[in-house]
Symmetry: C2
Subunit: 210 residues, 2 copies
Amino acid sequence: MVKQERALRTRETLVRSAAEMFHQEGFTVASLATISRRAGVSNGALHFHFANKAAVADAVEESALARLRAVTADGPKAADCGLQRLVDATYRLARELSDDVVLRAGFELGGDPARPPGVDLRGYWQHWVRETLRQAGERGELRPEVVPEEAATAVVAGTVGMEVLGTRQPEWLDPRTVGRFWRLLLPTLAPAGLLATLSADGVDTEAPEE
Amino acid sequence: MVKQERALRTRETLVRSAAEMFHQEGFTVASLATISRRAGVSNGALHFHFANKAAVADAVEESALARLRAVTADGPKAADCGLQRLVDATYRLARELSDDVVLRAGFELGGDPARPPGVDLRGYWQHWVRETLRQAGERGELRPEVVPEEAATAVVAGTVGMEVLGTRQPEWLDPRTVGRFWRLLLPTLAPAGLLATLSADGVDTEAPEE
């Protein structure tokens, strides 16, 4: 393994350890000493990569944003229908929040008052949901009485709620919970003809490739 | 003012100052010195009431729970219909979260990993929503195909999402946001006959008396 590669791996290990500590103890309590120890890395090596704890947290947030981009990206099996792609992305988001502590910590850091506003994962998600529903509206995938912006409010609130509640109660990120949400909401969003073709259980919910 | 009354007022002032500091800086960063200074109270007076910062946070959470109980309590003008009472309570919750920093901080402390699980405001809200919808179902206020437990999932997720997003973006707690949510959700929950009598804008949304 060349030197540069090894440095990159060490950095990734540090980002993951940091995410675990930020998630468990919060940004303010988590210490650089615990983060480097957990990563099996010397304090010196940590400081080679990061100037201070804020820089580590920035790296966690940036890495989390890359993962969130993958969650919202269309895979090769992406549905033609924007509404279905939205449903599918919420399943991927719930699963990645359960499985990937970096994504989880990224969302949490964004809500921590001790951190300055920076990378804003909830803001990115909000923007993506709004844009996806706007396009769905333009393509006639919404009932005529549905205002895309209003639908986005309900979808963003519901999914952020599951994200936050899932921190302490993992069942909120269970696919069955996501399914309950969509089975209630889809009938008010989609015209009857389209609704029959949609799956509230998702069709393309595989883990994204980074 | 008798001595006991004065002590009670001081305690209340301290709880409010603590809530402000916890909300602004987070539990870990906020210091007892800042809290007492902000309350215009000596350090000694603070320690007369509270042994340590955890005890202050406990008091904030208990006070917040009393306020949340008032939000979910039926006022003299409470609607007969359980579904309408649920709608009305979400408007009161959104307004109190905007106006009352003690309630706001209580919710935030419950999600802070640096705090042990204790008074759980989100848990209380979850329980109340679930129970209200279960009763609504028994009284025939839900469409026959709606499972009350599933409806509760969507309502809790949506309202907790608004609570969390409202911390940094106040428009999430605007009555118009709450209205958007209910205009989308009510038609899937209520049978057509009842739906015509319901108001998605709330009917009894006055500030609760404590």
